[in-house]
């Protein structure tokens, strides 16, 4: 009897989480202003940087690529994800500001489903965003050399990484309940991406900046993802990207969960 009840609760929790994930995705989709920058801004930067740094690919130490567009593909996906993941936190903060979050708490919804719903929605959207960006890059002459398997792997990495980055913005949203404060986190993420191998190879940097960039978790995620795109699928690179995303996720999601419990107590 108890086991049946526990199974039923678990099932209801999953269904509720699924419904909240769907709500989150539909909500984001219906507000083009919140996701169009996630596509336009990375593409704009890719277009400008590829025209600026096209000659840099001939420099000794630069990875073997056909064009700078090909090199910058993972950076563009990372940028798009960080925009989108930040938006997940902002949306949660708006839910808190509008009182929707409190209504959810007061309703018979499994506590974990609320958090999973919001973050899962961001992850699904980020996976779709990565796929869309890869299609655009393929159209401008920078296809995924690893084929469909590498493309699927990159979509999965993007979704997983979205949880990792989104965890921080969710944590800030839960702590402050302010969409403005949550949005202010974006420049910090952008700086973290900049001080990595996303836009330029660390081998062509020098001094302390190079040291920091080499140990930046984003470098450890971007490099294997880039190899998946350029050299083809390998379990080692796929695993590395997932592992380091997991390391970031363990920090951000723990923080988000802690803030979530704090808000539940306050509510």
């Amino acid at each position: 009897m108890t086991a049946t009840l526990a199974r039923a609760r678990w099932r209801v929790g999953v269904e509720q989480a699924g419904a909240l994930v769907t709500r989150s995705v539909v909500n984001t989709w219906r507000q083009p202003g919140s996701w169009i920058p996630s596509i336009v801004f990375p593409l704009m930067m890719a277009a400008v940087y590829s025209a600026q740094f096209e000659r840099a690919i001939d420099l000794p130490g630069f990875p073997d690529v056909d064009s700078f567009v090909q090199f910058i593909l993972p950076a563009s996906i990372l940028q798009g994800i960080s925009f989108n993941a930040g938006e997940a936190g902002t949306e949660l903060a708006l839910d808190i500001e509008s009182g929707f979050f409190d209504r959810l708490i007061a309703s018979p919804v499994a506590r974990q489903s609320i958090l999973i719903g919001r973050m899962g929605g961001g992850a699904v959207f980020s996976g779709g965003l990565a796929a869309a960006l890869m299609v655009v890059f393929a159209l401008v002459g920078a296809p995924i050399e690893g084929g469909i398997v590498s493309a699927v792997a990159i979509v999965l990495i993007a979704a997983w990484l979205s949880l990792a980055i989104g965890g921080f913005s969710i944590a800030v949203a839960l702590r402050t309940g302010s969409s403005e404060a949550t949005q202010s986190l974006f420049p910090l993420t952008f700086m973290m991406i900049f001080v990595s191998s996303a836009f330029f190879p660390t081998g062509l940097m020098s001094g302390w900046y190079q040291s920091v960039a080499e140990v930046n978790p984003f470098t450890l995620i971007v490099d294997p993802t880039r190899r998946l795109a350029l050299d083809g699928f390998s379990f080692a690179d796929f695993g590395r990207a997932l592992f380091w995303s997991g390391v970031v996720a363990s920090v951000s999601l723990s923080l988000a969960y802690r803030m979530y419990l704090g808000r539940l107590r306050r509510s």
Binding site: A51, E54, L59, F200, M205, A213
Partner: protein, 265 residues
């Protein structure tokens, strides 16, 4: 018998009014230092981030300097000063919301003072990133072969960029009447400054960007600001930048004044 109260002519009160409006905005900074955070963080990020990430491009044959900071520092100076200038739009949006601009519009002052007051504040505010970029460039290996004249021209370039974007921000805020105008002006600023000679010289740019950067007015402004960092100052590289500032200021302050008149009772 009391002597008559001296009457202040609106025309002669222009300077003091501009000063007081500008001072009022500066007091806002003292009361809310948080609004200065992006103005301080951005220069640090641009100088350190751009130099650290892209210094390898100086190894490309034909790059005009070996120290990337001398190339990218002036770009960071113009960009951060311009973004600081957009802060004038934020002040105007707040003052529109709280009704201060409406009160100024019915006050016996020259209306242009309502535009030039925030611009005076913009000029003061722009000095923060300009100073920061110059100071941060020194430990990065920056040099100024153009000497004091090169430094002066760099400050003029940064200040000009701030005032242009500041006046554009004022015009857009007065048009829209909302703080969202700042985001619009930031995008416009980005769209001009990014596809220019900011990070790579014109001959090394390829494809569409070469054409866009060649005709982009931001290229002239950056070229003028940069010259003292990579060599001597010359009139040939100065006047196009000054022309861009003059035209930009003329057009945007005129537009802002027009929008202000539309709001007058």
């Amino acid at each position: 018998m009391r002597s008559p109260t001296p009457r202040t002519d609106p025309v002669s009160a222009f300077g003091p009014t501009v000063f007081e409006i500008g001072r009022r905005s500066l007091i806002r900074i003292v009361r809310m230092p948080a609004i200065l955070v992006p103005t301080i963080v951005m220069p640090v990020f641009f100088v350190i981030g751009f130099t650290g990430s892209f210094e390898g491009v100086t190894r490309i044959e034909g790059f005009p300097t070996e120290d990337f900071i001398n190339w990218v520092g002036p770009y960071a100076l113009v960009q951060t000063a311009a973004f600081a200038g957009i802060g004038a739009a934020g002040t105007m949006a707040t003052d529109l919301d709280n009704g201060f601009i409406d009160r100024l519009l019915v006050a016996p002052i020259r209306r242009s003072a309502i535009i030039f007051g925030p611009l005076a504040y913009t000029a003061m505010r722009a000095l923060i990133p300009i100073t920061l970029v110059l100071l941060l460039s020194i430990p990065q290996g920056g040099s100024l072969p153009g000497g004091l004249l090169g430094l002066f021209i760099a400050v003029v370039g940064g200040m000009g960029g701030a005032l242009m974007l500041g006046s554009m921000g004022l015009a857009v805020v007065l048009r829209i009447g909302h703080i969202r105008a700042m985001a619009i002006v930031q995008i416009v600023a980005f769209a001009f400054l990014f596809p220019s000679i900011g990070q790579v010289p014109l001959p090394l740019l390829s494809g569409w960007l070469h054409t866009v950067a060649r005709f982009n007015p931001a290229t002239n402004l950056i070229r003028m600001t940069r010259q003292g960092f990579i060599g001597d100052v010359s009139w040939a590289e100065t006047w196009p930048g000054l022309l861009v500032i003059a035209i930009g200021l003329g057009v945007f302050t005129g537009w802002a004044r027009y929008e202000l008149d539309q709001r007058a009772p």
